[in-house]
Amino acid sequence: MSKPLSFFGGFKLTFQHLARPTVTTSYPQSKRAKQPRQHGRHVLNRYEDGMEKCIGCELCAGVCPANCIYVRGLDNPPDHPVSPGERYGYVYEINYLRCIHCDLCVEACPTQAITESKMFEFSFTNRADAIYTKAELLVDDQGYPKRLPWEDWREGEAEMTGGWMRATSPAGDASFEGVVQWTGDLGVGVRAPEGGQSGNRDDEATGSKQLRRAFFRHLNPIDVNDDQRGLQGQISRGQEKMTMAREKLAERKKNKQDKKNKKDPSHQ
């Protein structure tokens, strides 16, 4: 549009916005997808054999700028050890009235025992509840964080705890891309590394795929992937929807068939 007529550009844009989707998230009912490296409530991880990762070294308590962590280590009892090393975390407390979720404890931990989930929406009605002890922080037997009644857990918030820990090398050296240098977790095993910086953006692995899709209309053109732009974008989105619908239909058909087969096995 030429410069003197750009006055009407504002009218055009606002009118176009009538048909565009709203960006508002109705917060308590629905939540935006969290970023893979969101700092939330801590979890204490366990090895795949159920042993605790914490060795009671108190490095996290030492590095904590808010002084909110209290750890006491103890020698492992020889007949039933808690952690594979010499010592284990006997007391582990985090005071969430003080915690600033800076993740320095996660960085300091030599065994990746403490990481952070993506859940930060929790509130308590007394000070005692604010101090999380080891019983609350330690993951359960399936490797997932324990859910307390005042915490608002949504889907995906317990996945990929400590996501940024599983990035490439801390110095950002591209030659360490995809190199796994962390131990496995209980129930999950060794978690996959994030998408690297030299390769294509892998929205699926970083967990930001839904976010991107919701926002692509409001992003600058340069931030929108080629296959999502303009007419080509509409076509590819349509194709995606079609394939999804087809898969769903096939699944339903299969389910029906299964049911039928179960009902009268003589048919086969």
Partner: protein, 412 residues
């Protein structure tokens, strides 16, 4: 001369009980419809503007948030009513009514539909059809500015005072252009009555004033009426970012609600006035079915008015606020000369085409002279220092841009 012939409400001559009953019904229906329309307008504005800004807007009360206005009204009603210590108490309490009452009265002259026949009586579908017609609208918009002005003055606070000064200045600047464009409409109709203005535009679309008068008077009227309404982009009166809330800063509770209501009522009324003056009011296609003959004009009227209401919302979403000097500039330097010139040309063509051409030539000549004068005035190098240098050329400390008089420095 009986009372009935003096009172503009009883234009049909004799007065009977049925007449008064019909009048009462018209009043009640008109008032109720206007009040309903205001709540819907507030909802519509909030919803449309939030759509334009990719938000959701009101959604909690009623389906699609339709009852949001009601909830807001109830909330405001139960809030504490504050009168500032420095306020002029009587005027402070009077001002909201001075804003609201003219807004209601103006709607009385708007022809909502055609005519209707009930029990042998011919009923105009408008609350009143006074012979002074459209002048009533001008008078009421003149009075309603008193509400804003006195509210700002009586608050005893500086921002409302600035706002009220702006309101009166803006009203004076745009009332002139508004009046002159109304004159062009009246010239071509030959009557002040809104009913006659509408009926003269009946028939097909080429008889609508917007086309009959050329599009210019309509555009001038639209801009001027937007300024009269203090709606964006002319909302310097209540500019939130400059004057807190403008004239209503010190108001709370139900008095604030009255101002708010008056503003939206004015928006609807002025959209209706635009439709009446330039878009044939209820004129439009009517089906050849006897019982639908009175419904369709109302429908057309509502559709047209809604379009203009939407345009006001659209303005608000699309346009940034004018600077105060730009508002004055547009009003005095552009709209008034343009409307005056167009009025002369229209008047000339109504007498004889030759006169019209002559007038057009004269107006063209005058506009060239005026344009030259403006450009000279803007590029003036030296002048009396009592005039402040234009913004952007203010001297830095220790710097003198101009000599003190028009004389050369050697002469001093």
């Amino acid at each position: 001369m009986t009372l009935a012939s003096v009172d503009p409400l009883f234009v049909f001559g004799h007065v009977s009980g049925v007449d008064i009953l019909i009048l009462l019904i018209r009043l009640l229906v008109g008032f109720g419809a206007l009040m309903g329309a205001v709540t819907m307008m507030i909802w519509f504005e909030r919803k449309a503007i939030s759509d334009m800004q990719s938000r959701i807007g009101p959604q909690r009360w009623g389906p699609f948030g339709l009852l949001q206005t009601l909830a807001d009204g109830i909330k405001l009603f139960f809030k504490e009513d504050l009168v500032p210590d420095q306020a002029d108490r009587f005027v402070f309490k009077l001002a909201p009514y001075l804003a609201l009452v003219p807004a209601i009265i103006t709607f009385a002259i708007v022809p909502v539909g055609g005519t209707m026949h009930i029990a042998g009586h011919t009923v105009l579908l408008q609350i009143a059809n006074p012979p002074i017609g459209i002048l009533l609208m001008l008078a009421m918009s003149g009075i309603s500015v008193y509400g804003v002005m006195l509210a700002g003055w009586a608050s005893g606070s500086k921002y409302p005072l600035i706002s009220s000064v702006r309101a009166s200045a803006q009203m004076i600047s745009y009332e002139a252009a508004l009046g002159i464009t109304v004159v062009t409409v009246v010239l071509v109709t030959g009557s002040l009555s809104t009913h006659n203005i509408v009926t003269s535009q009946g028939g097909d679309i080429w008889h609508w004033n917007v086309i009959r008068l050329g599009v210019v008077p309509f555009i001038i009227f639209w801009i001027a009426i937007t300024a009269e309404l203090n709606r964006p982009p002319f909302d310097v009166v209540e500019a939130d970012s400059e004057l807190v809330g403008g004239f209503n800063t010190e108001y709370s509770s139900i008095r604030f609600a009255l101002f708010y209501m008056a503003e939206f009522m004015n928006t609807i009324t002025m959209s209706a006035i635009i439709v009446t003056l330039f878009f044939g009011g209820p004129a439009g296609w009517v089906p050849p079915v006897a019982h639908l003959r009175w419904v369709f004009p109302i429908l057309w009227f509502v559709i047209k008015t809604t379009i203009f209401c939407f345009c006001y919302i659209w303005f608000r979403a699309a346009l940034p606020r004018f600077r105060y000097d730009q508002v004055m500039d547009l009003g005095w330097k552009r709209l008034i000369p343009l409307s005056l010139g167009w009025m002369l040309v229209v008047a000339g063509f109504l007498i004889k085409p030759a006169w019209g051409l002559l007038m057009a030539a004269a107006v063209l000549f005058a506009s060239v002279v005026l344009g030259r004068a403006f450009s000279l005035g803007q590029s003036r190098e030296s002048g009396p220092d009592s005039v402040l240098p234009p913004i952007g050329q203010r001297p830095l400390p220790g710097q003198i841009l101009r000599a003190f008089t028009d004389l050369d420095e050697e002469d001093l």
